[in-house]
Symmetry: D2
Subunit: 443 residues, 4 copies
C-alpha cells in the first residue's frame, strides 16, 4: 500500500524515476552524503516536513534524508513548479510521501501544506518560509492570517494542540533569499520559536545556485517559452543581487544589451562597473525587449511601466514569489488577452501595443524550464542535508533566530565538489600559515 | 478540398497557426518583402519546390513566395526537424502543399522529395542540396546514385522526361554551408545545369544565422535535452567556422571552458587568440564534458574518441548532416544502450563508462529545440525570397555555377533589419565619399 | 620657507601639480567632501601621519585632510611607488610635508616613517599597517622588532615618551587587505591600543578599488613593462580574492587563457564556475606565459615553480608586499642575470631557460604604471576622509579593535559616485518598503 | 663608417639593441624565415625601400630582408611613431640605413622619403602607400601633387630619370587597410605601374594584427596617456572593421559600455548582434567618455560633435592617417588650450567644457604606447618578408594591380605560428578529404 500522497498520476513514475536518476549522476556531493547517512543514520527518529520545488533534485535530497533515517513529507513550494512525474516516482518508486500537483489552486496548495503539518514535524525545510510562517501563525494563534485550509487544521488541533505542534519543532532550514528576508523580519518581530539555518547564506549555496543556477535556468526558461533571439536585444534585469548578477551575466553571454535596475547604490555602482547600463525602471521600460525581475520585492514592474513598453515586449519573473510584476493590474489594464504560445500570455492595450507575460509572472525557470541544473543544486541540497544533521546534533544549543551555515560545512562541500570535478588546489605550506598569522613582518 | 500533402495530422493546424504568427512578429524584414510581393507579384507563374526544415520561419517564407505569385511545394530537408503542427497549418490554413512528417524514415523522406519534383519546379530551394543533387542525378541518368523512390520516379519519366525535368529548372538557391560545399564540388565536376544562388554566402545570412542563430539554438537544444549546468564544464567545439564560432561564443557566455578543434591553421590560430584552447580531438576527448560538432565533415568524433571520453560525456552535432559523429561505430562498440531522457541515448562501454548521444547525432538545435530564432531567420529567408526574385529577373543571364547574393540585396536587408530594430547609423558625407575615392592625400 | 620634507627634487613640482589636477578631475566624490571640509573643518587640531603610496590620488586626499583642518605628514608605503613630481608638488605647491623618494633603500624608508612619527600623530592612515605596527612595537617596548632607524627614535623618546606617543593616537585607518590581515592578527594577539577603521572592508573600497582598480592597473603595468600580446597567451593568476578576480577578469578581457590558483575551496570553485581553469601552482608553472600573484601570502611562486616554467615566462606581483615571489631564491638559483627592458629583469637558469621578473617582485601596477586610476581611488579615499572624520567624532566610543566603515558612509559614497556619473536609480515605494519588512505575505 | 642615415642620436643604439632583441624573442615565425633567408639569399641584388613605423618589430623585419641578401633603406611612415633608439640601433648595430626622427616636421618627413627613393628601389614596402604614391606622381609627372622636397628630387632626375625610377620598381607590398584603399583607387584610376601585394589582406595579417594588435595597443596607448578607469565608462568606437572590432572587444574587456558608429549596415548590424549599441556619431557624442576613431575615413569626429561632448571627454584616433578627427577645426573652435599630461592636449570651449585630444589625433597606439606587440607583428612581417620573396620569384608574371597574398603563404604562416605556440591541430583523414570533395552523399 502506498504512503500517504496526493500527486497527479502514479503512472508517470517510470518517467520520473529515469529523470531522478539522470539528476543523480550530476549530484555526486549529495550522493557521497547519502552513502554516509546510510551508514550513520544521523536523522533516525526525525520527522521532516519539506516545502520545496518538487523537482528531480529535490527528489534526490528526499532520498538522502530517508537514507539518514528520517520520515519525510514533501509538498510544493510553488503551485506551478511541480514535476508531476517526479512526484509520482517519489511515491511509487521510493515510498516517500508527496503532496503536490502542477497547477494546483491556492486551496489545494494549502491542503498540501496541511498534509505536511499533520505529520507533526521535528524539522522543516522551506523554500520561501511558508511552512515556518504557517507554524508560527498557528502557534501564536494568529489564525486570521493563515489560509482557511490551514486554519481548519488549527481548529481541529485546538489551542493546546497548536502550541504542541510548534513546540515539537526542533528547527528549520530555509533555501531562498526571499525566505531569509521573511525570517529576519520574524526574528525582528520577536516571534521566532526555534532556530533556523539560512542555507541560502552558505557560500556554496548563494554564490552558486543563485548566480549560476538562476542565471542559466532563467534564460533557459525564457528560450523554451519564446524561442526569441537574445543577441542584439535589450534585456532589462531588475535587481542586482546574486540572482540578478547571474541573469545579467548570462543574458550578456547570449549577446544581449543588458540594462540593470536597482535600489541599492552600491549594487547599482557595481552593475555600472561590470559594464551594464543602470537606470530607473521608468526609463528602462520603453527600451527593453525582455524584462526579468529578481528582486525579492513587490511590484517592481507596474502597469505604468508596461503601458510604456514596446509592442511585443516580454515580461517575466525569476524571483521567488509572483508579486514582482503587477499581474493583477496588467489584467485590468489590458483590453485583449490571448495565449500566444504555451507559457506566453499576450495582453493587448488600448493603444494597440502588446505585452507578453511569461508563466503568469511566476518563476519562469521552474515553470517553463526545469529549474536549476542538478549539479548546482547538488551543493545547495548538500547544505540542506548537512544543516538538518547539524540541527539534530547541535540544535538544542542554538538560539531561536536565523543562523548561518557553519563555515566548516561550507568549505567541506566546496572541497568535495572540486574533487568530483577532478580539480585539485594548492594547500598552504607551514611557512605560509605562519606568515598569515603574523603581523610583525612589514616592508 | 485541401492541396496535395502528406503531414502528420491536420488537426494540429490551429496550434501551428498560432506559432507561425508568433514567428511572424519577429520577422519584419520578410513581412515587408511579403507586402511588396503581394503588390508586384514577381514570382507569378513560377513553380517552387523547397526542401527546407519545416519550421515556423519556413512557413513565413512559403507565405511570402505564394504572396509573390508562385505555386509552392515544401518537403523536409531533415527527417527529424519537421514541426508537425506547422506542416498542418501550412496545408489547412494557408493552402500550401507540404510533404513532411517528423521522424519519417529514409524512404518516406525521398517519397516527399519525389512529391516536390513531381510539380516540375522552375525554381528550387535547398537546405543541404538534396533537391539539386536529385535533379542532377536524374538529369544525368546516374540513377544508381539516387534513392529507390526517386529512381522509380525517374523510370516513370523516361529519359526524355528526365532531361525535360532538369531543363525546366531556371535556377536554385541554397541555404547552408554544407550545401554550398556540395554545390561547389558539383561545379568542379562540371555537372551543374543551372545557376545556383548561395544564399549561405550572403553576409546577412552566414554572419548572423550561422553564428548567432546556430550558437544560441545549439545551446538551447542541449539545455532542453539535458538540463546540465554549462558553467564550469568543459565544452569541446569541433570546427571554428561561423557556426563553430557561434557555439563557442555562447558556450563561453554560459560559463564553459571551451576547447576548439580545427583542421585549418588560420582558424585554429584565431580560436587561440579568441581565448580558447585548441588541440586535436584525440587530446580533447578525455577532457570534455560536452562535445558539439559543426564542421560539415564526416567522422569528426570517432569511436576511438568516444572510448577515451569521461563517464557521462555528452556528444551532439549541430552540423547539417548526421555524419559528423560515427554513430554506427558507437552502436557497434557499446555493450549497453538505454534512453536516459528524451533525445538522450546512453551508450555503455565494456569498461563501464557511458557516453550520451543527443538527438541521434542529428541537428540538436532542430531536434531538441526549435531551430534558429525567427528574428535571425528573418534575414536568411529575406535573402531566399529576394534571391528567387533575382533568379526570375536575371537568371537567364547567369552561368550554370554557384553565384553569391548580389551585394545590394545584402545591404538592403541589413538596412531594413536595422530600421525594424530602431537603429539608425551614419551616412557618408560628400567629403568622406570623395576622400575614400581619392589616393592623392597622404601623410 | 617650505614645510619639513625629504623629496627628490622640488623642481619637479609644476609637472606634479599638473598631474594632481588631472587626477582631481576624476575624483568628484573626494572633491565634494573637500568642499564640505573647507566649510566645516571637522579635522581641526588633528595631526595625521599617513603612510600611503605617494601618487596623484593620495595628493588629493592629503589636500582634503588639510582642507578639513588637519596638519598632515606623508611618507611612502612602498619604496618603489613614489611619484617624485607629486611629492614635490605637495611640498612646493600645497605646503604639505612629504618624506618619500622613489627607489629609497630600506633605511631611508624607515627614516621617513620616523619623520611621520615625529609629528606625534593623533590619527594615522596606513597602507599595509607599517605605521600602526611601528607604533605598537614602540609602545610595547618590542624594539628588537623595529627597523634600527625607528629604534633610534624610540631610544630618544625614552620609555615614557614611547608610551605617550602611543597614547596620543586616537585611531587609525587601513587601506589594504594585507594590512587588515595584519591588524586582525594584532587584535587576536591582544596588542591593539586604539580603534582602527578597516577602510578596505568598505564595499565602496574593496568591491571597486581591489577589483576594477587592481585589475586594470596590473594589466597596464604589465603592458608598459613588456608590451607583450595578451590575447592567446596563458595567464596564471595566483589568488581569487577581489584583486585576483579583477586581474583574472581583465586578463580574460584582453584575450588570455586564464588559470587560477587558490587555497580556499569556495573561491576555487567560484573561479571554475566563472570559466577559469583551476589547478595547483606546480601544475600551472609549466603552462603559463605570464604569472601574477595577488594572494597577500608569502612564496606563492617558489624557485621550484620557476625552474619548471617555459623559456621567457614573465613573473610579477600585484599584492601589497614583495614576498609573494621568492625573489631571493630566484637570485640564488639563476646563473645569469640582465636587464631586458626597464622593469624587466631576466634570470637565466643553468638549463638555458629564462624567467623574467617584473618590477623586482614589487607591486607591478605602481612600479611600472601609475597605480589605480583616480576615479576608483576617488571612492577609496572618500572612505579614508570620512573614516578620519568618524574617528574624530566617534572614536572615543570605539573599542581598540578593527572596525568596519559604517554602512551609511558606504552607501552615501556610492550614491554620490553614481550622481557624478549621471546615473540615477530606483527608490523603494512605501508599498515596497512595507512588503520587505513584512513576513506575513506568502504564496 | 656608418651607412647613410638620419636619426636622432646614435648613442641611443645600445638601448635600441636591447629592445630589438626583446621583440625578437616574440617573433619566432620571422626568425625562422630569417634563418632560411640566410641560407637561401632569395633577395640577393634587390634594393628595398621601406616606409614603415620605425619600431622594434620593423627592425627585425629589416634584419630579415638583409639576411635575404637585400640592400635596405627605411624611413618612417608616420612623423610621430619613430622609436629613436631603434633607429639608432639599426644604423649602429646592424648597419642598416634609416631616415627617421620622432616628431619630424612634414618637410623632414619627405626628405626621408626622398632618401629612400634615392636608392632607386627594386621593391618598396609601404604602410599607407606614401612611397608608391610618390613614385607614381613622379613617374606620371604630376609633380604639383607631391611635397616640395620630393618635387625637387624629381627635378634633379629629369623626365627620363623619373620614368626610369618608376620602371625600376619590380613591385611593392602594402601593410594597411588605408593603404590598400588608396591603392585600389589608383588601380581604378589606371595609374598603377607595377604589381602590389596587399599584405593587409592576408588572413594572418588583418585578422590578427588589425584586431588583436590594434585592439590591445590602442587601449594601452590610451591608458598610458591618461590612466583613466575604463570600467563603467562609455567608449565610442567609430568604425567596425577589423580594427574597430578589436578596439570594441578590448574596451568591453576592460569593462566599458561600448557604443559603435558605422556607415555600413551589415557591419552595424553585426555590432548590434555582438552586444554593442549602435547609433550615429551625433547621438553618441554627448554620451561618450572616450572616443576612438578607426575608420580609414576623414572627419569622422567633427567640431560639431566635439561641441556637444561632455566636459572632460577624451578623443583619439587609431586609424592610419590623422584626418579622422577634425583637429584643425578643434583648434579654431577652442578658446583655450593647454597640455594636461604628455600626449593629452586640453581644448576649452567658450561654454566651459573641455575636450582632451590624445596624441594630436595621430595613431594613439604608436604615439603614446609602443604599437602592436611583437608577437602579432611576427605574422604581419612574415607576410611582408614572404611577399617580397614572392615578388622576386613571381612578380614578372603579375599584372600591375593589387594582389592578395597567396593562400599557401597565409596557411604556412599560421601553421608555423601555432607550432611556436606549442599548439597542434587535427589533420583531415583520407576519408574526410574524400567526403569534402564529394557531393553524392546526401540525407
Amino acid at each position: 500500500m502506498p504512503v500517504p500522497h496526493h500527486v497527479k498520476d502514479l503512472a508517470l513514475a517510470p518517467e520520473g524515476l529515469r529523470r531522478i536518476q539522470w539528476a543523480d549522476r550530476q549530484m555526486p556531493v549529495l550522493a557521497a552524503i547519502r552513502e554516509r547517512f546510510e551508514r550513520e543514520r544521523p536523522l533516525a527518529g526525525e520527522r521532516i516536513a519539506a516545502c520545496l520545488h518538487v523537482t528531480t533534485e529535490t527528489a534526490n535530497l528526499m532520498r538522502t534524508l530517508v537514507a539518514g533515517g528520517a520520515e519525510v513529507r514533501l509538498c510544493a513550494s510553488n503551485p506551478l513548479s511541480t514535476q508531476d512525474e517526479v512526484a509520482a516516482a517519489l511515491v511509487a518508486e521510493y515510498g516517500i510521501s508527496v503532496f503536490a500537483i502542477t497547477g494546483e489552486d491556492n486551496d489545494t496548495y494549502y491542503d498540501h501544506v496541511r498534509s505536511c503539518l499533520e505529520m507533526r514535524p521535528t524539522l522543516t525545510m522551506d523554500d520561501g518560509a511558508d511552512l515556518v510562517s504557517s507554524l508560527l501563525f498557528i502557534g501564536l494563534g494568529r489564525l486570521d492570517q493563515v489560509n482557511p485550509r490551514v486554519r481548519a487544521f488549527a481548529a481541529e488541533l485546538g489551542d493546546e494542540g497548536c502550541r504542541a505542534l510548534l513546540e515539537g519543532v526542533r528547527g528549520s532550514t530555509e533555501e531562498t533569499t526571499t525566505g531569509v528576508i521573511r525570517l529576519r523580519a520574524m526574528e525582528r518581530d520577536g516571534v521566532m520559536a526555534f532556530p533556523v539555518i539560512a542555507v541560502n547564506d552558505a557560500d556554496t549555496k548563494h554564490l552558486f545556485d543563485n548566480r549560476y543556477g538562476t542565471g542559466q535556468s532563467t534564460m533557459d526558461g525564457i528560450l523554451r517559452a519564446t524561442n526569441v533571439l537574445i543577441a542584439g536585444s535589450t534585456v532589462v534585469v531588475a535587481g542586482y543581487g546574486w540572482c540578478g548578477r547571474g541573469v545579467a551575466m548570462r543574458a550578456h553571454g547570449l549577446g544581449a544589451h543588458v540594462i540593470v535596475t536597482e535600489v541599492d547604490p552600491v549594487r547599482a555602482l557595481e552593475a555600472v562597473m561590470d559594464g551594464f547600463r543602470v537606470m530607473p525602471m521608468a526609463e528602462a521600460a520603453p527600451l527593453g525587449d525582455l524584462f526579468v525581475t529578481v528582486t525579492g520585492d513587490k511590484h517592481v514592474i507596474t502597469v505604468e511601466h508596461m503601458r510604456s513598453m514596446k509592442d511585443g515586449a516580454l515580461v517575466c519573473n525569476s524571483g521567488h514569489f509572483d508579486v514582482e510584476i503587477d499581474v493583477k493590474g496588467l489584467e485590468e489594464a489590458a483590453t485583449e488577452r490571448w495565449t500566444a504560445r504555451p507559457f506566453v500570455e499576450a495582453y493587448g492595450f488600448a493603444d494597440g501595443h502588446v505585452v507578453h507575460l511569461l508563466a503568469d509572472g511566476r518563476l519562469v525557470n521552474l515553470a517553463a524550464a526545469e529549474g536549476h541544473p542538478a549539479s548546482v543544486m547538488d551543493m545547495s541540497f548538500a547544505n540542506q542535508a548537512l544543516a538538518a544533521e547539524y540541527l539534530v546534533h547541535r540544535g538544542a544549543g542554538l538560539d531561536s533566530r536565523v543562523h548561518g551555515v557553519p563555515r566548516e560545512i561550507d568549505r567541506s562541500i566546496a572541497a568535495l565538489k572540486l574533487e568530483t570535478m577532478g580539480v585539485s588546489i594548492d594547500v598552504l605550506t607551514d611557512e605560509q600559515v605562519a606568515y598569515l598569522a603574523s603581523w610583525e613582518e612589514g616592508t
